[in-house]
């Protein structure tokens, strides 16, 4: 590949992810179909099978799913610099839009109509987050222990104001302790999780 066409590929990668960043509303999962159309169908940079792996890994790594996915695809297509270019592309539309909104926001803050609008929106946000949480609870709680972990998390966070990071680490430790000290239970859980992956 000569230098010029490589430069063009970087530019294409950037534009592609800039588009993804500019046209997806509602975060991570909403951008999956757009990425598929751009990367798999139009550009044919990676195969349909590979993209499923990318989505799976993007979800199990920490960080925003959208960013993880872009970084991964950028890396697969054009190496390390490709990862940086794709990530910059997906982030830039948000950075520009939100900075402009934030500037505007500080001006209109305190206007009674504006405050009434956002006061009305706040309970809708409660409903939105609650529904998202219950959906994830349905997928992630498969037994009594899972339900207990969830309940303790809610109590620790809302009533004792424990930092989220400590609860996440505690959750991982519970899983790891089961793996080392309760092999029977661990085997049962691992078999079930593998079956679940098989279905989806």
């Amino acid at each position: 590949m000569n230098e010029k066409s490589k430069g063009q590929r970087f530019l294409q990668l950037f534009i592609c992810f800039f588009k993804v960043g500019a046209f997806t509303f509602g975060g991570g999962f909403a951008m999956i179909p757009l990425i598929e159309r751009e990367i798999v169908d139009n550009k044919k940079w990676i195969s349909e099978k590979e993209i499923i792996d990318v989505f799976a890994v993007a979800q199990s790594l920490p960080g925003a799913i959208a960013i993880n996915t872009s970084t991964f695809i950028g890396y697969k297509v054009l190496g390390r610099l490709g990862a940086v270019v794709a990530t910059a592309g997906v982030v830039l539309p948000s950075l520009i839009t939100i900075t402009l909104i934030a500037m505007f926001f500080s001006i209109v803050r305190g206007n009674p109509i504006f405050d009434a609008i956002f006061d009305g929106i706040s309970p809708a946000i409660v409903a939105l987050i609650l529904v998202a949480g219950v959906k994830i609870a349905k997928e992630s709680v498969k037994d009594k222990l899972g339900a207990i972990i969830l309940l303790f998390t809610v109590i620790a966070i809302t009533f004792f104001k424990v930092q989220a990071i400590f609860v996440i680490i505690a959750g991982a430790l519970i899983g790891i302790i089961i793996y080392f000290f309760f092999p029977k239970l661990s085997k049962k859980i691992i078999n079930r999780e593998e079956d679940d992956i098989g279905i989806s």
Binding site: I129, S140, V154
Partner: protein, 189 residues
Amino acid sequence: MTLEYLRLFLSFFKIGLFSFGGGYAMIPLIQSENAMYNWISSSDLIDIIAISEMTPGPVAVNSATFIGYNAGGILGGIIATIGVTLPSLLLVLIVANVFFKFSKHPLKTMAFYGIRPVIAGLIISAALVVAETAFFKSGISLNETAENIFQLISLQNVFIFVLSLLLLLKTKINPVIIILISGILGVLI
């Protein structure tokens, strides 16, 4: 000021590094960090979530940019955004290949068995924290003695909550539309 930028960067780096499960899972981490540094009020935080939902792009990036801007202007927005993005970039570059190899390791399966219910719990907690601000009338602190609890609760907002919940569960209306309807109701009633 430099120290403020460094704090902002480190906080969002931490948020990016420890949030599993994307956008909404990040809200409780943002709440924890915000409680420590008081960048914005809790009602502003809800507005930011609403704006993030209505504008394109990942919720994580949108809220980082917004909070960063409020804490330290345009540069603050850029720094917070780089902070929240960098863990993903580094993790993918450093551990991508290793992660693919070990993605079926039983120890990883078990760690995530423990983490996943926590994520669900975190998101539900985030809803409860937001509810506290959304349902109680602004300007009244909970320490004040009220003759009647109903004087404290904004019935209008409880109504909008129930309506939103029904629309989300029973219909396929886009959440952005639900947010817009709620905003209009906020002015009308």
